[in-house]
C-alpha cells in the first residue's frame, strides 16, 4: 500500500533515461526534498512497526500450536529432578580445570540427554528472541513469554543452573573470589548468526566467571566456564548456532 501511494505521488516512477536519481533529486525544490525525507523516515518507522506486529503474530501462532506437540509432551514426561541433579554434579566434578592461559573448565555433556532433548524439542521460535545489534538474538531467562512446554523445560533448567550447575561451577573456581560466595545468573539463550564461529560471551563488569553452553552447533552440550577476563570463548570447528550463556557474580558486595 505504501509503494502504491508512493507511485501515485510519482515518487517511485522509473527515472527518465539519461538522468540519474541524484540529478533528479537535485532538480526538486528544497521544500519538496525535505518533505520526501520526512516521508521516507515515516515509511521506515512504519516498516519497523509492521515487523514488530508480525513478530507478535508469530508469537501468538507459536503459542497456539506448541501445546499439541505429542513429541514434546513425551519428552516432558521423562524429566526427573533427582536424576538431572546427579548428572550435572557428576559432569562438573569429572571435568578437568585448566589454568593456562586463563582459569577454565570444559564440561562435556553437561545436561542429561533427556533434558537437552526436551530443550531442543521445545525451543521457542525466533519470534520470542530479541534482536541485538551484532546480529545475535537473545532470550533472557526465565522467559517472560514462550509456549508452555518451553516455559516448563526452561524453568526447570533455570532452577538447575541456579541450584546445581551454578554452585558446582563456583566450587571449582572458589579461588577466583576467595572473600565470599559466587551466585549464578539465569542468563540467556543466544541464537548466533550463521557465520558466527566463536561463542562471544556476554562480559559485564562485576562478573567473575562466564559460562557458555553449546546447545546447537559447535560441540553440543558442552559447557565452557571461564574467568571473565579471558575474553572470547574457544573456537569451534562448527559454527555455533545456539548457546545458553550465564555469569557468576559475587553473592555479597566486595568488602
Amino acid at each position: 500500500m505504501i509503494a502504491r501511494l508512493l507511485r501515485a505521488a510519482g515518487l517511485l516512477a522509473a527515472s527518465p533515461a539519461g538522468r540519474s536519481p541524484e540529478q533528479k533529486a537535485a532538480e526538486r525544490p528544497a521544500a519538496q526534498r525535505q518533505q520526501i525525507r520526512e516521508l521516507a523516515r515515516e515509511v521506515s518507522n512504519l516498516t519497523s512497526r509492521l515487523q514488530h506486529l508480525e513478530r507478535g503474530l508469530d508469537q501468538l501462532r507459536a503459542l497456539r500450536t506448541a501445546e499439541d506437540d505429542p513429541h514434546a509432551r513425551s519428552l516432558l514426561a521423562a524429566l526427573d529432578p533427582a536424576r538431572a541433579t546427579r548428572h550435572v554434579r557428576d559432569a562438573v566434578a569429572g571435568a578437568v580445570r585448566q589454568d593456562d592461559p586463563v582459569p577454565q573448565l570444559i564440561v562435556r555433556d553437561v545436561w542429561p540427554p533427556e533434558l537437552i532433548a526436551a530443550m531442543l524439542a521445545t525451543m521457542p521460535a525466533p519470534a520470542f528472541f530479541q534482536s541485538a545489534p551484532d546480529g545475535r538474538e537473545i532470550l533472557r531467562l526465565p522467559p517472560r513469554l514462550a509456549p508452555t512446554p518451553a516455559m516448563v523445560v526452561l524453568a526447570f533448567a533455570v532452577d538447575l543452573v541456579r541450584d546445581v550447575l551454578g554452585p558446582a561451577l563456583a566450587a571449582r573456581f572458589v579461588d577466583l573470589w576467595p572473600d565470599g560466595g559466587l551466585s549464578a545468573s539465569a542468563g540467556a539463550l543466544v541464537r548466533h548468526p550463521p557465520d558466527d564461529a566463536t561463542m562471544a560471551a556476554d562480559h559485564r563488569p562485576g562478573h567473575i566467571l562466564t559460562t557458555v553452553i553449546d546447545l546447537q552447533g559447535g560441540v553440543p552440550n558442552r559447557a565452557v566456564a571461564r574467568s571473565s577476563t579471558a575474553g572470547v570463548m574457544p573456537h569451534s570447528a562448527e559454527p555455533v548456532l545456539l548457546t545458553w550463556e550465564f555469569a557468576h557474580y559475587p553473592s555479597d558486595p566486595a568488602p
Binding site: 519538496q32 516521508l39 507478535g56 516455559m151 524453568a155
Partner: protein, 433 residues
C-alpha cells in the same frame, strides 16, 4: 507535487493510527496469553505443580499436568470498611480488654488503606484422576494415563471437605460463610458434578447444600479413593491473609438475593433504600452451651432490646428456611457475637447489625492457642482483611455485605445503662439512614 505529498502524508498518518490500534489489540492478547502460559507452566512444573494453597498433592508427570486448567470464579471484592462502621463503644472496666480493644482499633487504623479486599476463587479442573484423602488431611490427586472403566463422570471437592477441622465443620457460622460459598462456586463451574463432602454431623449441613444448589448430588465421603474422568477441585478462596472468602461469599449472597422475589421488585434502588423489612431482631444465646454464652445477664440484655421493639429469637427454635426469611425481613439484627448472626448473609444491603462483645469473648479471641489471635499484637502488617479473624469479625462480614455494624464492648455482666445509651444512639443512626 506538494499537494500529492500532503495526500501521501495523510494516508501515512492513517496507516500509523490503524497500526497502533492493531498493535494495542495484539499487546492485550499477548498479555493475557502470558498470564495463562505462566499459570499453566506453574501447574506443569517439573518436580510438582505449584499451587496457590497447601493440602493438595497432585501426582502426575509434567506432560499430564499440562492438562490441568485453573479457573478463576467470581469477581474481586473491595469494600471501604470505614463507611460501614457505625457506633462503637468500649464500656468494660477490664483493663486487659480495654487495652486489647484499643490496640485492635489502632492496628486497624495503621493498615495501608481502609479497603477490605478479596480475590476471585480458583478452581482446578483435572482430567482422569483418582482422589483420596490421607490421614494428615492432604488431598492426594493421582493423574491417570487413561480413564478407568469404573470412573465417575465428574466429581467436585470443596476445600472444606479436606482442609477444615471437624470442629469448624460442626459450627453453623463456619459452614455458612466458609463452606457453602465454596460449594456454590463448584456448582457454578460444573452444575452436574457430584460433590464430595465430609460426613454430615449437623442438620444445617444438608440445608447448606440446598443453598449451594447441590442438594441431591452430593456424597458423604470418607476419603477412600474415587476415580473420575474429571475432577473439579476448589483450590483457593481468594482471602487476602485472613478473614473470610469475600469473593465466593458475596457471589453466593448476590445470587441468593437475586433469587428472592421481593428483592427483584426493589432491584436498582440504593443499598439503603433496598432494606425491605422493618423487623428488629435480637438473637439470644440462651440456647448456647454454658461456656459459649459469653454474657451472664442475657435476660436483662434482652429486656433492654425488647423495650425498643426488638423481637427476641432463639435460632435453635427456628427452622433454617425461616431463619433466612427472618433475616431477609430485618432492618436491624442484634446479638452477642456468635454463629447465629451469620444469617446476615440473607439480609439486604443497608441492614444494621448491632454486635455485643463481652470480656470473656474478647479473651477467647485473644487466646494465643488459636490462629485467630494474631490481631492481639498486630504482628502482621498486611491487608486489612487479615483482621477479619478478630472481634471485628462481624464488622468485616457486614461491610462485605454492605451493611452497617455497631459494636459494644462490655463486661460479661453487660452494663445495662451504657448499653441502652449505645443502643439508642445506634437506632438513631438506623432511623436517620
Amino acid at each position: 507535487v506538494l499537494d500529492e505529498l500532503d495526500v501521501l502524508r495523510t494516508s501515512l498518518d492513517e496507516l500509523q493510527l490503524s497500526l497502533a490500534d492493531r498493535q494495542q489489540a495484539l499487546d492485550d492478547l499477548l498479555s493475557s496469553e502470558r498470564a495463562a502460559v505462566r499459570e499453566q507452566a506453574a501447574l506443569a512444573a517439573v518436580g510438582g505443580a505449584r499451587l496457590l494453597v497447601d493440602l493438595i498433592d497432585i501426582d502426575g508427570h509434567p506432560a499430564q499436568r499440562l492438562g490441568i486448567r485453573r479457573r478463576r470464579v467470581g469477581a474481586p471484592v473491595e469494600r471501604r470498611l470505614g463507611h460501614w462502621i457505625g457506633v462503637t463503644r468500649c464500656a468494660t472496666p477490664a483493663v486487659d480488654v480495654r487495652e486489647m480493644w484499643a490496640r485492635l482499633i489502632e492496628t486497624e487504623r495503621n493498615r495501608p488503606d481502609d479497603s477490605l479486599r478479596g480475590r476471585p476463587s480458583t478452581v482446578l479442573e483435572i482430567p482422569d484422576a483418582v482422589v483420596a484423602l490421607d490421614h494428615g488431611g492432604t488431598l492426594r490427586v493421582t493423574m491417570e494415563e487413561e480413564p478407568r472403566a469404573d470412573a465417575a463422570d465428574a466429581i467436585a471437592i470443596p476445600r472444606c471437605t479436606y482442609g477444615l477441622p471437624s470442629r469448624k465443620l460442626r459450627n453453623f457460622g463456619h459452614w455458612l460463610v466458609d463452606c457453602v460459598p465454596q460449594i456454590d462456586v463448584l456448582t457454578a463451574v460444573d452444575p452436574s458434578a457430584t460433590i464430595l463432602v465430609a460426613p454430615f454431623q449437623k442438620p444445617f449441613q444438608p440445608w447448606g447444600l440446598t443453598l449451594a444448589r447441590a442438594a441431591g448430588r452430593s456424597i458423604e465421603w470418607d476419603g477412600r479413593p474415587i476415580a473420575a474422568r474429571r475432577v473439579v477441585l476448589f483450590e483457593s478462596d481468594g482471602r487476602t491473609g485472613g478473614g473470610r472468602p469475600l469473593s465466593a461469599l458475596t457471589g453466593l449472597r448476590e445470587r441468593l438475593l437475586r433469587d428472592d422475589d421481593a428483592w427483584r421488585t426493589r432491584a436498582g434502588r440504593s443499598p439503603q433504600a433496598a432494606a425491605r423489612g422493618d423487623r428488629r431482631l435480637y438473637v439470644t444465646r440462651r440456647d448456647a452451651r454454658n461456656r459459649r454464652k459469653w454474657v451472664s445477664n442475657e435476660e436483662a440484655i434482652e429486656a433492654v432490646f425488647a423495650r425498643r421493639g426488638f423481637e427476641i429469637v432463639s435460632m435453635a427454635d427456628v427452622p433454617f428456611d425461616d431463619q433466612a426469611r427472618l433475616f431477609r425481613e430485618a432492618k436491624v439484627v442484634a446479638g452477642v457475637s456468635g454463629a447465629g448472626l451469620t444469617d446476615l448473609l440473607f439480609s439486604p444491603p443497608g441492614t444494621h447489625a448491632i454486635v455485643l462483645i463481652s470480656d470473656s469473648l474478647m479473651r477467647w479471641y485473644a487466646d494465643d492457642r488459636g490462629a485467630r489471635s494474631f490481631w492481639v499484637d498486630g504482628r502482621r502488617g498486611g491487608d486489612l482483611a487479615e483482621l477479619g479473624d478478630s472481634p471485628r469479625f462481624y464488622t468485616h462480614l457486614a461491610a462485605a455485605f454492605e451493611q452497617y455494624c455497631h459494636t459494644f464492648v462490655g463486661a460479661d455482666a453487660m452494663p445495662l445503662e451504657p448499653l441502652a445509651a449505645f443502643l439508642d444512639e445506634a437506632l438513631a443512626r438506623v432511623d436517620a439512614a
